[in-house]
Subunit: 182 residues, 2 copies
DNA sequence: GATAGCATGTAACGGGTTACATGATTTA
DNA sequence: TAAATCATGTAACCCGTTACATGCTATC
């Protein structure tokens, strides 16, 4: 499990509330990890109980109060220990691949639309990532350590989207070859 | 959720026991989906209760009896309906990416070994996939529908491994640039 | 005699998803 | 006045992981 560690990294980069963390998981952290606010609040509470994070009530005007979390010493060393533990490479669970093999027992036409839809989503994500790259890392030669690492992770997200788009093109060509009448 | 649908596809390709399904999930289905025998037995029981699969007790000599499952009509139409429903593209959850960003607050050297380890695992998986390709699809021009689709899925797995290896090389170069003394 | 393979399960735990719930403020 | 944003949570359900459990047969 890395959600708690992803939260620790994000809070080390910048302390913030559960709500703010949820927004970060929609943006930069979303390049490699997703989490909903429900998950985040649940884990934050556990981390608070375990002494991994400190909380500070912050009054705001024109907005609800918030709880600002920051990393405590125990959290820092928990992260450090985890960094030294091996983690498993990601296992693939790809619904589309199941559907592709299922087409052998069904009509391909419905799947073609679905593959096109997925392709569009990956193209949109790629564009979003490329915009983020242009905005946040315009001069890759002149980055600090933190940004150099963030950029390397973002390049992984970009490569992931590009690979998907190419593979989906391949799948589409294959599906069309199955029915030349289409 | 696609485990039950992956099982349906596998049983359509070839009826079999829970044990046999578990082995298939270690092999060809493992290109795009993983599952343990515990999961499979649990889901098979549910599918049996729902009338998606039929069971037949098969006595064997020199081996324990087994329950051979095959797809029932209700299972076939459930799969057909699912094929027509949109599924979400995979969300990325990448522990290594969390670790990479965490390095900004820790020593990079431990991570380098971990990245090298991951790279080796992906190289081994790539080789395994390429062997499977050579063995099962030696003449891609002369495949039936089912195998053409299986091959397309396998090409996705191959592309996934290649992308990973390239990205991990990129990450390693980045980490080394952070510490030119290493 | 020990290990590996065949075959089927139960139980406990934690994580992820979805739905539900509240309440204030700002903007269209 | 309706919708969007800020902010925090509870509850239920299912899925995936890990550990435990049994017992037979074939091979080394």
């Amino acid at each position: 499990m890395a959600l708690e560690h992803a939260i620790l990294v994000s809070l080390l980069e910048q302390p913030g509330s559960g709500y703010e963390l949820a927004r970060r998981f929609d943006r930069s952290i979303g390049y490699f990890w997703t989490a909903t606010h429900q998950q985040i609040y649940r884990v934050l509470k556990r981390m608070e109980n375990d002494g991994w994070v400190d909380v500070r009530e912050v009054a705001q005007d024109g907005r609800p109060d918030k709880k600002e979390y920051s990393v405590a010493e125990a959290g820092r060393s928990a992260l450090s220990g985890w960094l030294r533990d091996p983690v498993e490479p990601e296992t693939i669970r790809h619904d589309l691949a199941v559907k592709i093999r299922a087409v052998a027992f069904d009509d391909p036409s419905a799947l073609i639309a679905e593959v096109v839809r997925h392709r569009e989503i990956h193209v949109a994500r790629l564009e979003h990532f490329l915009e983020g790259e242009k905005r946040d890392f315009p001069d890759p030669g002149a980055l600090g350590t933190r940004q150099t690492l963030q950029h390397a992770v973002l390049r992984g997200g970009i490569a992931f989207q590009r690979m998907h788009i190419e593979w989906l093109d391949d799948v589409l060509a294959t599906l069309h070859r199955l029915r030349p009448d289409n």
